[in-house]
Each structure stands twice: as structure tokens, then as C-alpha cells.
């Protein structure tokens, strides 16, 4: 509940920024567009016959350059918003998961000939902290080298036991459920752990391991 509240409170500045950006974008054409017509309208008034020629010759260049400038401004504003969003995201994570308590668990897969991943359940100190069902697309992404952050949370400094359960289809399309355990020592810095699924070719079996990234 608390973390949700914090999330909400962190998200409102992002919304404000987005609004501010939208206002800039909406306001920009209103400011820039009226600039060119009056300058061309002024000479057009006294000399009526010359006006169409002037307008025809003078109109397109400023209009295109205005559009270009506006487009560049919009692009740069978009980039700023993306950068700010990224900074806010990092800030949010730092606040919600401070380095001294942060534990992140990643999942990677290598080859996957002997195992089709279905789901992973993670328990830390006998308490279920994550349970993730993988779709075919997600499993494909993992096989192509993707890494999935399956858990990010806070744990006290000290020793903890992580147990990961992998379910899926093993060799010859059999239902397969295996576990991997690691006792890790949570220090003052962030702790990164990697669950690895690899193929054990000589045994024609998948292998599950947990790696502690120091």
C-alpha cells in the first residue's frame, strides 16, 4: 500500500512535465504562425496587383523554415521528456529499492533444446516473492539472448536463501519441474542474482543454476 502511494506521488511530476510539454507544443504554433502572415499582408495592402506575386514568391520559404524549426523544437522537447522520464524512473527505483536493501533476480536461457520454459517461481527465505508465466514470445526472446528481471525487491542485510522453481516441458515433451537453491549474503550494496537455464548436452538434460553477481 505504501509503495503504491509512493509510486503515485512519484508519477505526478512526470504527468506535470508531460502537461507542460504538451502546453509548449500547443502554444508554439500559435506564437510562431501569426508572425509571418502580417509581414506579408502589410506590403500586400497598398499595392494590390503586386500582392499575389509577393505572396507567391515570399510565402513558401519562411513557412518551410518555420515548420522545420518547430519540428526541431518538438523533437528536442520530446527528447527532453524521454530523458526526464528516464531520470524519474531511475529516481523512483532508487527510492523504492535503495541500494543497501535492493535485491534483483534475472533470468537467462542458453540454447533451450532440452527445456521449454513455462513458469518460474521464486521464494526468498521460504516466502514466495515472484511467480511469472512466460508466453511463447517471451521464451523466444530469452532464447535469443534476452534477460528478464523477474524480481526486484528489498531484503535486509545478512544471509538469505533463494529457491527458484522452474516448470516447463523437458526432453521428449515431458512435464518438468526443477528447483535451484542459493544461499546468498546480502551486503550493503545492491545484490544481483542470475537464474540460468542451460543445456547439459552429455546428459541430454537441462541444467538450472543460480549465479551470484558480486
Amino acid at each position: 500500500m505504501n509503495s503504491k502511494n509512493r509510486l503515485v506521488s512519484l508519477k505526478w511530476p512526470a504527468a506535470l512535465l508531460a502537461c507542460a510539454w504538451a502546453t509548449v507544443c500547443l502554444a508554439a504554433p500559435a506564437v510562431t504562425t501569426p508572425v509571418s502572415p502580417p509581414t506579408e499582408a502589410a506590403p500586400a495592402a497598398p499595392a494590390a496587383p503586386a500582392a499575389p506575386a509577393d505572396a507567391a514568391a515570399g510565402d513558401p520559404p519562411p513557412a518551410t523554415s518555420d515548420v522545420k524549426t518547430l519540428d526541431q523544437e518538438v523533437q528536442s522537447a520530446k527528447k527532453d521528456v524521454i530523458d526526464l522520464n528516464k531520470d524519474l524512473f531511475v529516481l523512483e527505483e532508487e527510492l523504492l529499492f535503495p541500494a543497501n536493501t535492493q535485491v534483483a533476480v534475472f533470468l537467462s536461457m542458453d540454447v533451450g533444446t532440452f527445456f521449454a520454459l513455462d513458469s518460474v517461481t521464486i521464494k526468498i527465505d521460504n516466502k514466495e516473492v515472484a511467480n511469472y508465466l512466460y508466453t511463447a514470445r517471451e521464451a523466444d526472446a530469452l532464447l535469443k539472448g534476452g534477460v528478464h528481471r523477474i524480481y526486484l525487491g528489498n531484503q535486509k542485510v545478512g544471509k538469505h536463501e533463494l529457491v527458484a522453481f522452474f516448470t516447463g516441458k523437458g526432453p521428449v515433451d515431458r512435464d518438468y519441474r526443477r528447483g535451484a537453491t542459493l544461499v546468498f549474503d546480502k551486503g550493503v550494496g545492491a545484490k544481483y542474482l542470475e537464474l540460468k537455464i542451460t543445456d547439459k548436452v552429455p546428459k541430454h538434460q537441462p541444467e538450472f543454476s543460480v549465479k551470484d553477481w558480486e
Binding site: D118, S119, L133, Y134, T135, A136, R137, E138
Partner: protein, 156 residues
Amino acid sequence: MATTGSSATRAAVPSLLDKDAPDFVLKGLDGKNLRLSEYRGQVVLVNFWARWAGDSRKEMPALDRINKTYARAGLVVLGVSVDDDERRAGEFADSMRVSYPILFDTGETVGRDYSVQKMPMTVLVDRAGIVRYQNVGFKRGDEDAYLDKVRELLRE
């Protein structure tokens, strides 16, 4: 009325209309996991059903007809069972012989996210992942309402 969902429905259930459809991943009858957000860009009809709900029995063949007609046009129909007993729900789904995927929400987490209080409940999600139609129960004429809304969303 047909295109906006019944007002009685909206009064009874917290409305999801015009809000982001809560994402979910569930195991299907065929053993595959399906995630709603992977259908972004397509119109998705999510039907929550239970084998003990008589209206579900009437609604599923209608949804099957809609699925068969509009699947090629970009419609995805997902049937989500909220039964506790996955095996019996699976048997029921098999007996209905529907052509669309059947998923099991045995933990009832998805049903909670969608505020499912009465069975069946149908939700239409547009290509951008926004809930655009919500209907609780199934009565005569609802199939036409679904068709109208599906056609409208597919045109967008």
C-alpha cells in the same frame, strides 16, 4: 445503448470503460500461456465465464460465431474461466467446442482486476489497449451489440 454498455451494468460494477485494460497472463486450455498486452494492435474481446453460469452456456456459441467471422479482420476472442476447478472447467470448455482460446483464472486475480461480480462478463479492448465496452450477463440482443461494437473498433 448497444454500443456503450448498459447503464445498469455500469451502476452495479466499477466501470473500466475508457481505462487501460489491466494486463494479465494466464495458462490456456492447450497449456500455452497468453498475455493480453501481446495483442496490442488488435481488438480483443475478453469473456469471463463460469460453467455454473447458465448465461455463459448461451453466450459462448455466440462468441464463437463472432470469432470465426472476425478473426481474420484482427479480432481476438479470449475466454477466461473463473472456475476454481480447472479440470472441470476444461471439460466444460471442451464440450462447448469453441474455436477461441480458453484461459484459466484459478487464482481469480484477473477477475478481481476486472471487477467481475456476475457471470458472464464481456469486455472489449481496442487496438490501443483501452476498454471500450463492458457487458454483464447475456441476454437476447447482446450478440448484436457485440457485433456493432466489434465492427466499430475494427474500423478504427
